[in-house]
């Protein structure tokens, strides 16, 4: 099977700018699905609003392109109502953690079996480069002409604290690693979060003098380190890549089956 078997060519060309990292994420995601050999009819991809959210239309799965920030709430309804479905939720950093922050922490707390792919480019790209909760300090954006004064979230720490049972981080430079981590995230039973640092040369890069797409990718190579690597041990300030959490907590839909059992028993007793 080739990647072409997983896309809807009618939808192309895609909307992303030249040099955008999101195409790399799409490619990695499709390779992961292909290697896992999941039936296309079993996958629902649901997304909110933003550049990253457009992934849902491009792929030949059941696709639900919803409203800004709420994809995980739609995903919860999809999954709980039909647990045999594989639910994938691609989100941007603003979509997932500004407008959608509440749904993110609660999906993690429930540990519902949904895979959240957060494509973190630290900017609102679709609307023209406004700062996001992931921009961090001293960033120039179209709504921060005097640089940002807001701290950023650490997605990994946030997901951990909220209760996600699988948490990983990689970048668009590390494509093979991304495929491996995506496979693990998709296979994981429970709420899995994978943060993929993805370059936005058009808005974040240009405004902050980060160079072109290649320079931004080079930066991911330079300023990140794989957990357990010598590079990271020598320089612990680097952004960590790899798997941060991977445990087997009770999953929400499976737990719900127990409620159904309890309710049936209680109802039967009432009948007597």
């Amino acid at each position: 099977m080739s990647v072409k078997d997983y896309i809807r060519e009618r939808f192309f060309p895609h909307i992303w700018c030249p040099g955008c990292g999101h195409g790399i994420v799409l490619n990695s995601f499709l390779r992961a699905v292909e290697q896992l050999k999941i039936n296309k009819n079993k996958i629902v991809i649901t997304s909110g609003i933003g550049c990253s959210a457009r992934i849902s239309g491009y792929v030949d799965f059941h696709s639900l392109h919803t409203i800004h920030g709420r994809a995980l709430a739609f995903a919860t309804g999809l999954k709980l109502s039909k647990p045999k479905l594989k639910i994938i939720v691609p989100m941007g950093d603003g979509d997932a953690l500004a407008i959608g922050g509440n749904h993110f922490i609660h999906a993690a707390r429930r540990n519902i079996d949904v895979t959240a792919i957060i494509m973190n480019n630290r900017i609102y790209g679709m609307t023209g480069g406004q700062y996001s909760p992931l921009s961090g300090l001293n960033i120039k954006a179209s709504t921060a002409p005097f640089l940002t004064i807001e701290n950023d979230f650490n997605i990994v720490e946030l997901a951990k604290a909220a209760g996600a049972s699988f948490v990983a981080r990689t970048t668009t430079y590390h494509v093979l690693e991304a495929v491996t981590l995506l496979k693990k995230a998709i296979k994981h039973k429970g709420f899995s979060v994978i943060e993929i640092l993805s370059q936005c040369p058009t808005y974040f890069g240009r405004k902050n003098k980060k160079g072109d797409a290649c320079s931004m990718l080079e930066l991911y190579k330079k300023n990140t380190g794989k957990i357990g690597s010598k590079k990271l041990n020598n320089n612990p300030d680097l952004i960590k890549r790899g798997i941060f959490v991977n445990n087997n907590k009770p999953e929400y839909c499976e737990e719900y089956e127990k409620i159904i059992q309890k309710a049936a028993t209680a109802a039967a007793i009432r009948q007597i």
């Binding site: 799965f61 696709s63 709420r70 995903a75 709980l80 039909k82 509440n102 209680a266």
Partner: protein, 382 residues
Amino acid sequence: MTSKIKFVHGNEACVRGALYAGVNFFAGYPITPSTEIAEILSQKLPEQGDKFIQMEDEIASMCAIIGASLTGHKVMTATSGPGFSLKQEALGYACMAEIPCVIVNVQRGGPSTGNPTHVSQGDVNQARWGTHGDHSIIALTASNHQDIFETTVNAFNFAETYRTPVILLFDETICHMREKLIIPRKNDIPIVNRFRTSLKKHVDYHPYLPREDGRLPMSDFGDVHRYNVTGLFHDMWGFPSNNPKIVQELLHHINDKIENSIHEITKYKEHYLENAEYILISYGSSARSAIHMAKNRTQRGEKIGVLELQSLWPFPHALVREKCSKAKAVLVVEMNMGQILNQVKLALGDSKNVFLANRIDGNLITPTNIKALLRVIQGRGV
């Protein structure tokens, strides 16, 4: 199975109606005065092997039911004013993406937090215009528990028939008072189930291509037809489009499918209406006071009748015009500042003989309140 007689509050009557209609997924968030609906369903749904979830907020519960509807479930959420405000964006999404769902709004006093434990009918216009953009909507109401039951069944039927969200506009008084409810036997009220495509695998399925009768067969997420659903304007495949022809046609479609079906959707009751000189137009718990007043005055030989509306949107202008053609005066009895009054004025053109008998202080409007206004109109003084 024989009929079952129950003594329940209105929220429970609504739940019973929903279960009769086949609800099998509910997502909600606690809010007075609708919480009992969630509470009862948190027990009933798992008992029958179905799903209930309390979401993190009102927005999430609206989104969750839309997701569950797409997997083929009959879905509902319940709320009140502030929660209804929060649900509006996702409600508009369901209008645009044509996803069947039922939203109960047990009205309380507003705006804002308002008067949570007291009655109001202040969300009538919000039900019609709460979400942005041109769209049509179905909103139903009821004034007693038997009607709440049947109206709730109708709401599910309309949602499936027209592939649209349907709003149940109840109110605090009707949903917190208790009275008799007779559960109809199975099949006494017809049930409309999901209309699914008969197209087989590998046959091109167009989720947004209406058939000649205007209906759009659905396909469950997880089945053989993979398609796109979006809140953007979209073509017959569900793919985003800003082609002016497609935009215009879709906007016409989501409006016309409801407005053109007003005769099937409109529900109303007449009380002492024949030869009535004075007509009270009312709905929900206000209608109980109107009916009470009309009954008393009719017994004393006066000609006062009630047109009780059970569907508020699309508003039945032609019906109101027909029923009120010979009335000396029309009184709209409602607990807001004239939301249905405006529609009645629109229907009757000459607004000289249309009056508002309202109450907006959180208490139920009484027959005496209505009588006082009627006496003034009749020139008899209070």
